[in-house]
């Protein structure tokens, strides 16, 4: 564990995770976003990275500020890694591995998201690291887990979301399935990854013993599909995409409003709600939910004929005043001006040295006494080398210059 004295001064209001040192190596979202959440609550999170094998979020995935492809102008990296520090460390160089080991030797948590076997080949496998540091918590997050016949099969989150069954459940019955826009399952694995680390920290507090955590992003995702699995196992039915239909609520749908690409979502869950809806809109339909479900297509058409002539937000106001469940389908740009998300501070404003003014994403839960603090976007490459190698590892300027010359900081 880290000597508290070697750490930077704590912020005025210590976060729930203040005093925790996390070292991470990895790329893209599924591993690194775990570190982001830990950093947001006060952990010191150091990303070890190398210009020779940069994160794809620094090199490949747009958008880049003003379209200029540059590791320090990469929006994705800046967005996903807020609150962290960056130190460059070439893990192909033996001295780089030694530095990483020394740093992890002081850490509470090591997060890695490479292909299984990679960190072990580098000399940074969990067994090696924990041999001299049994209280260390190591989280390995990868596509399919560290073991098994598909452990080494390459894969991205968007395709893994298809394999796990999410895509199968999304789309109109009369057309093909559709995508969940991005690597949906990665974010499920992020949540479970953070939970696993925090649970291991709690166990360590009681027992003094660390933990090696093998997180398969696939298995994490399947947790969210438990009802589909049970439905097939118990009843032999494979749940399919169903547009916006629901097994209980009727109506339950998304309806076009006046204007270009404006939609409203609404659902009716009881007969009393239905009567209120009917009285407000003049739309007729069966008195019972079963009857309305049976006449779904006609009812949906009648509702859309009513909404299509009306302003989206006007429909929302009208139905909400009657206590009904309704919401606008917000576009992505609208998320930045939505009063409720703004009230919760969903998009903290930060200034990035290369990108300039930008926003990062707050955790979707707020803590009343030790709230998240988000003051810095993802760091530029090697922004914290002096802090990490000088202050934390205590290397002199001369030692650092020599290492630099040897290519250890590339």
């Amino acid at each position: 564990m880290t000597d508290i004295a070697t750490r930077p001064a704590a912020p005025a209001r210590p976060g729930a995770l203040s005093g925790l040192l996390v070292v991470e190596v990895g790329f893209a979202a599924a591993g690194p976003l775990v570190g982001k959440y830990l950093a947001n609550f006060g952990a010191e999170v150091i990303r070890l990275e190398s210009r020779l094998a940069a994160d794809v979020f620094r090199t490949t995935y747009p958008p880049f500020k003003d379209g200029l492809v540059d590791p320090d102008r990469a929006g994705m990296f800046a967005f996903y890694n807020d609150g962290k520090r960056s130190a460059t460390c070439n893990l192909k160089h033996p001295k780089g591995v030694a530095l990483a080991r020394a740093l992890i030797g002081q850490a509470d948590v090591f997060v890695e998201s490479f292909t299984p076997g990679t960190v072990a080949r580098l000399g940074l496998g969990a067994d090696t690291l924990r041999a001299g540091h049994p209280e260390l918590i190591v989280l390995s997050s990868c596509n399919q887990g560290q073991t098994g016949p598909h452990a080494f099969h390459p894969g991205y989150g968007s395709q893994l979301s298809a394999l796990a069954g999410f895509v199968q459940l999304l789309g109109e019955p009369d057309s093909t399935p559709v995508l969940l826009y991005g690597p949906y399952i990665d974010y499920v694995a992020v949540g479970y990854g953070a939970i696993a680390v925090l649970a291991a920290l709690e166990r360590r507090r009681r027992t003094g013993i660390g933990c090696t955590i093998d997180l398969s992003q696939y298995e994490a995702g399947l947790q969210f599909l438990t009802p589909s699995i049970l439905e097939f196992a118990a009843n032999g039915r494979i749940p399919e995409r169903a547009g916006n239909a629901d097994a209980v609520a009727a109506p339950h749908g998304v309806y076009r409003c006046a204007g270009a690409d404006r939609w409203v979502a609404l659902s009716i869950w009881s007969d009393a709600e239905w009567r209120a809806f009917r009285d407000l809109t003049g739309i007729s339909g069966s008195e019972t939910a079963a009857g309305r479900r049976a006449a779904r297509a006609a009812l949906d058409a009648a509702i859309e004929a009513w909404t299509a002539r009306r302003d989206r937000d006007g429909v929302v106001d009208l139905l909400r005043r009657a206590g009904l469940r309704v919401a606008p389908v917000l576009s992505i740009s609208e998320l930045f001006s939505d009063p409720q998300l703004a009230h919760r501070g969903m998009w903290p404003a930060v200034t990035h040295p290369a990108i300039g003014a930008m926003h990062v994403m707050a955790p979707p839960f707020r803590l009343s006494s030790t709230p998240s603090v988000q003051e810095r976007p993802g760091p530029t490459v090697g922004a914290d080398n002096d802090h990490v190698f000088g202050e934390i590892l205590g290397l002199s300027l001369d030692e650092r210059r020599t290492l630099e010359r040897d290519g250890v900081f590339e």
């Binding site: 729930a16 994705m76 073991t147 598909h150 390459p154 894969g155 749940p239 206590g323 839960f365 009343s368």
Partner: protein
């Protein structure tokens, strides 16, 4: 779901329901299509590994009883409308607990207290905006997702709060939870002022010239996920695709002409993409999901079949990792059959947390849990007679 995750991790989680059981026990579908309070599939999924009691919070006796139980708890999870705990006079009893509150929009702000189901919070999060086909209505995942996201973040919040010396409120908003599930769309708006929208089976992502790449393709017996990709693995995938096509017959000329070592998917124009994809589609249509999966695994190519529940249960990787945990049959009228559940979400020092306990029947653990809280048999009998438990 928040309690389920904490229970999976070994916490003693006690579900408190109103006498008669909570309404979600009757959410369809049901095991064997038999509707009763022990057989709702979504409810079972969220409530295994817990114990369960009943307690009528509408009565003063019930509230006093709950306060007694809650004062011993480290974490209390609730999903009442904001302010309801105060109205019930329970806030004092929860002073020393971490209180995780899960609501559609959060505890305060202009939408606090506004009702919303999965559909509305997903709409208000931008997730719906991004799912579906251009020109058609946005669509929602047929199995509600927001309860899972909210529960997961609630558990994360509870565990963060557990490391703080002060007890505090963890305020989860389902809308905010669903807002976290679709980067990079917010980054595109924030950095580049580009509004991403629905693209059906196509993926944007890496192109810097605005080309879209097909990611979902029809195969012989369903759909597969595959894309023309760059990067070392993407290029390897392309080379293997050409070889695979050659093994099965003919390589279309436009594919044979591709130099996979030089292809750059970030700058391919839409017309080039369309031409390549038109040549790939018939090949993928000739394969079954199983043929495609074994083919990509053998060649270490990027790609997966679009799986469903039956594929998951048969998946050799999950079996090799001993993922599934089967609960034995449970008594009841009729008995609940043996069912396979996804096992613990991660492996800790070689051990996977177990699915070890059936979801509780209504009030199943009243006697033992109230005894643990110091309620003696006479008092419990009185509370039962009064309908409090």
């Amino acid at each position: 779901m928040c309690g389920r995750i904490l229970a999976d991790l070994g916490a003693d989680v006690v579900k408190v329901e109103a006498p008669g059981g909570e309404p979600d026990r009757l959410r369809p579908p049901f095991v064997g299509d038999i509707e009763n309070s022990q057989r709702s599939i979504p409810w079972l999924a969220a409530n295994v590994n817990k114990r369960g009691i009943t307690c009528d919070l509408a009565s003063a006796d019930g509230r006093a009883l709950f306060a007694r139980l809650a004062s011993a708890a480290r974490i209390v999870v609730e999903s009442f409308a904001p302010g309801r705990l105060r109205e019930l006079g329970l806030e004092d009893a929860l002073r020393d607990a971490i209180v995780v509150s899960i609501t559609p929009y959060g505890q305060d702000g202009p939408l606090a207290g506004v009702p919303g189901s999965d559909l509305e919070v997903t709409a208000a999060s931008g997730s719906l905006w991004l799912a579906g086909e251009e020109g058609r209505a946005p669509v929602r995942t047929a199995q509600p997702q927001s309860p899972y996201w909210s529960g997961m973040y609630g558990a994360m919040g509870a565990l963060v709060a557990l490391r703080s010396p002060v007890a505090q409120r963890v305020d989860v908003s389902a809308q905010a939870a669903m807002t976290t599930v679709h980067p990079p769309a917010p980054v595109w708006w924030d950095i580049a002022r580009e509004e991403h929208g629905r693209t059906g089976p196509f993926l944007l992502g890496r192109s810097i010239v605005g080309s879209r790449f097909r990611n979902l393709w029809a195969c012989a017996d369903g759909f597969v996920s595959f894309a023309i990709q760059g990067g070392p693995i993407g290029r390897h995938t392309g080379r293997m695709l050409t070889e695979w096509m050659a093994e099965r017959g003919e390589v279309p000329p436009v594919i044979a002409a591709v130099d996979w070592d030089r292809i750059d998917n970030t700058t391919l124009a839409q017309a080039q993409v369309d031409e390549l994809e038109a040549a790939i589609a018939p090949f993928l249509r000739s394969l079954t999901k199983t043929e495609f999966f074994s083919g990509v695994v053998k060649r270490k190519m990027l790609g997966y079949p679009v799986g469903d529940a039956s594929d998951s249960l048969a998946d050799p990787q999950l079996r090799a990792r001993d993922f599934w945990r089967t609960l034995p049959p449970a008594d009841g009228l009729p008995p609940l059959p043996s069912l396979p559940f996804p096992g613990g979400f991660a492996v800790f020092d070689g051990e996977r947390p177990a699915v070890r306990r059936h979801a509780p029947k209504v009030g199943q653990h009243n006697a033992e849990i109230y005894a643990e809280a110091g309620v003696d048999a006479t008092e419990l009998a009185r509370l039962r007679a009064a309908g409090t438990v």
